[in-house]
């Protein structure tokens, strides 16, 4: 569809984007506020970023969160890629409907249900809650997102290429590693990024499945937010937003360059 945007279309875009970005922009601006009162501008200052560096609880939580996100994103990307391969290429196998429903359901399942159900599993098995339980919970959630991202790329990939490699004598795993994998690599990278940020971001599931030793950053932020708005939260939020935005834009630009390089 293309006829050029009308004035109405432009207004809709401007208002929509304003709505999406204004709160984030305000949050970033006020993270540089000298005053402790979030809504009173007291001049430009980076003191809240400095005070973040001295907040050991917050730093410890950030470290736990990054580790959980890294491990769970890696695991979820591997499992998700395998699941996508199964869904796209294995045709109709028994239990395919069950499998595909298990991969799509967590995408929309309310997080409280996922968190509660996983917690009950850990309790009934008798595992102490901590790093590994959060990691497993996040892998389960993000594996589904990873599957969908890789699957979307895989359906448009011409399987004949891999078959050709096999006809030329490559064993199946080699044909996959040398032909298919490089081709779906951007999607795999995007899947990892998505899994990583979702894990970084999750409050509800982590609250249910983490233990005393593994308080994640969103849990810390949440308990601080409940006490009220503070410029320190603005500062850590700005750092997180900056981190994620840089990553997303980098992956996006990388994909764009590839696409223009190999039409």
């Amino acid at each position: 569809m293309r006829r050029g945007p009308s004035a109405f279309n432009i207004a809709a875009i401007v208002l929509g984007m304003g709505f999406l970005y204004l709160p984030i922009v305000l949050l970033v601006i006020y993270s540089f506020n000298e005053s402790r009162l979030v809504t009173v501008w007291g001049g430009f200052s980076t003191r809240w970023y400095v005070s973040l560096l001295q907040n050991e609880q917050l730093l410890a939580a950030a470290w736990v969160t990054l580790r959980v996100a890294f491990v769970s994103a890696t695991l979820a990307t591997i499992l998700g890629t395998l699941a996508a391969l199964g869904l796209v290429r294995a045709g109709r196998f028994r239990g395919r409907t069950l499998f595909s429903s298990m991969t799509y359901a967590p995408l929309v399942m309310p997080e409280v249900i996922l968190g509660l159900s996983l917690l009950l599993l850990f309790v009934s098995v008798g595992v102490a809650r901590g790093f590994w339980t959060v990691m497993i919970a996040h892998t389960t959630l993000t594996l589904c997102y990873a599957t969908v991202v890789v699957q979307a790329r895989l359906v448009s990939f011409d399987e004949a290429l891999e078959e050709a490699a096999r006809d030329l004598g490559a064993p199946p795993w080699k044909a996959f590693a040398l032909v298919t994998l490089p081709n779906i690599a951007p999607a795999v990278a995007a899947a990892w990024m998505l899994a990583f940020t979702l894990s970084l971001d999750d409050l509800v599931i982590a609250s249910f499945t983490s233990g005393p030793g593994a308080t994640t950053l969103p849990i810390r932020i949440y308990s601080a937010v409940r006490l009220g708005v503070s410029p320190e939260i603005n500062a850590i939020s700005t750092l997180l937003i900056g981190l994620v935005a840089t990553g997303v834009i980098a992956v996006y630009l990388l994909n764009m360059r590839r696409r223009t390089a190999a039409p």
Binding site: L15, L26, A83, A90, G91, L143, I233
Partner: protein, 316 residues
């Protein structure tokens, strides 16, 4: 073929209709995520169902009966006998649960309708821009989805609170202050804000693929722009409308963070109920029973969503 020597039709990974087919190691590889989801997604649901039939006790973990595997079959029978529907009965008697249930559905339904009204013009406008602008706008819609949900909800607290940025702006232009934070209005704002990308993306996907020729044909046949929108563009975009609505409605019914941070003490939603029962009241059976009721309500929308997803993936 495989070395397991199983009878051929039993092999789930055997591809049908592809005689020159690969050995389909892919299907075997998929067993791994399949196992993972079975263990960490499917089994836990059975546990929630079981727990919803248990009773609260003062112990760690705070529920009974617990299945004693060493007691064998008699132990199992005793265990099953001790299960009851008490948690559900309590839910039926306490009007607060019913109120939370209805109010969750109302919040989700109204917010989905507002999202459609806000998201459709945005997606439509994006689809009518030139290719490079479209790409940039698409990126701009996706980006907030990647940034923390919690942080984006938090950003609204500073705007909506009594001495917040909104009231400061209102005072500047000489308008009286409004008291929005901790009301249902704030919850609606938060829901619409947080879920807007989920509504815009599927709508944009269908609108972008629509052929300009269709609208030209409608215009040639004498349609006014509004008529051609209402009779051509909109009906053709219905799959996107359905996808967006489901993608927003289902998780919103069980939303916790938004009603908790932006809503007031009178804001009732099931996600919050589950959280409170679990963390504050330590009533695990009640939390499980609410989760089961929530899930039962969402089964049909979730199945619709899955059908839609599968169709979309196969259409490509």
């Amino acid at each position: 073929m495989s070395v397991t020597g199983a009878p051929r039709p039993r092999r789930p990974w055997r591809r049908l209709g592809r005689p020159r087919g690969s050995s389909s190691w892919e299907a075997r590889a998929a067993l791994l995520p399949y196992l993972w989801l079975g263990l960490f997604f499917f089994v836990p649901f059975l546990l929630v169902a079981k727990l919803s039939l248990s009773d609260v006790v003062l112990a760690i973990p705070p529920y009974a009966p617990r299945l004693d595997w060493s007691a064998g079959l008699p132990g199992l029978i005793a265990f099953v006998r001790a299960l009851d529907f008490e948690a559900y009965a309590r839910m039926g008697q306490d009007g607060l649960y019913l109120a939370a249930y209805l109010s969750s559905l109302k919040f989700a339904a109204v917010a989905t309708a507002i999202l459609l009204l806000v998201g459709y013009p945005l997606a439509y406008g994006m689809a009518r821009c030139g290719p490079s602008v479209r790409q940039a706008l698409l990126m701009a819609v996706i980006l907030p989805f990647w940034t923390s949900f919690l942080i984006r909800v938090y950003a609204w607290i500073a705007i909506l609170k009594p001495a917040g940025l909104l009231n400061m702006a209102l005072a500047q232009i000489g308008l009286p202050p409004v008291d929005i934070l901790n009301t249902d209005t704030a919850v609606y704002i938060g829901l619409v804000y947080a879920y807007l990308p989920f509504m815009v993306l599927p709508l944009y996907a269908v609108l972008e693929r629509q052929e300009a020729g269709l609208l030209e044909a409608a215009a040639d046949l004498g349609c006014t722009p509004f008529q051609s929108f209402w009779r051509v563009t909109f009906p053709l975009s219905l799959p996107g409308v359905a996808a967006g609505a489901l993608l927003c409605f289902i998780p919103m019914v069980g939303e916790f963070v938004i009603p908790d941070l932006l809503g007031g003490s009178g804001t009732l939603m099931l996600g919050k109920t589950i959280w409170t029962e679990f963390f504050s009241n330590r009533d695990w059976p009640a939390a499980s029973a609410v989760a089961i009721v929530l899930l039962a309500t969402l089964v049909i929308p979730i199945l619709l969503f899955q059908r839609q997803q599968t169709k979309m993936m196969e259409q490509r």
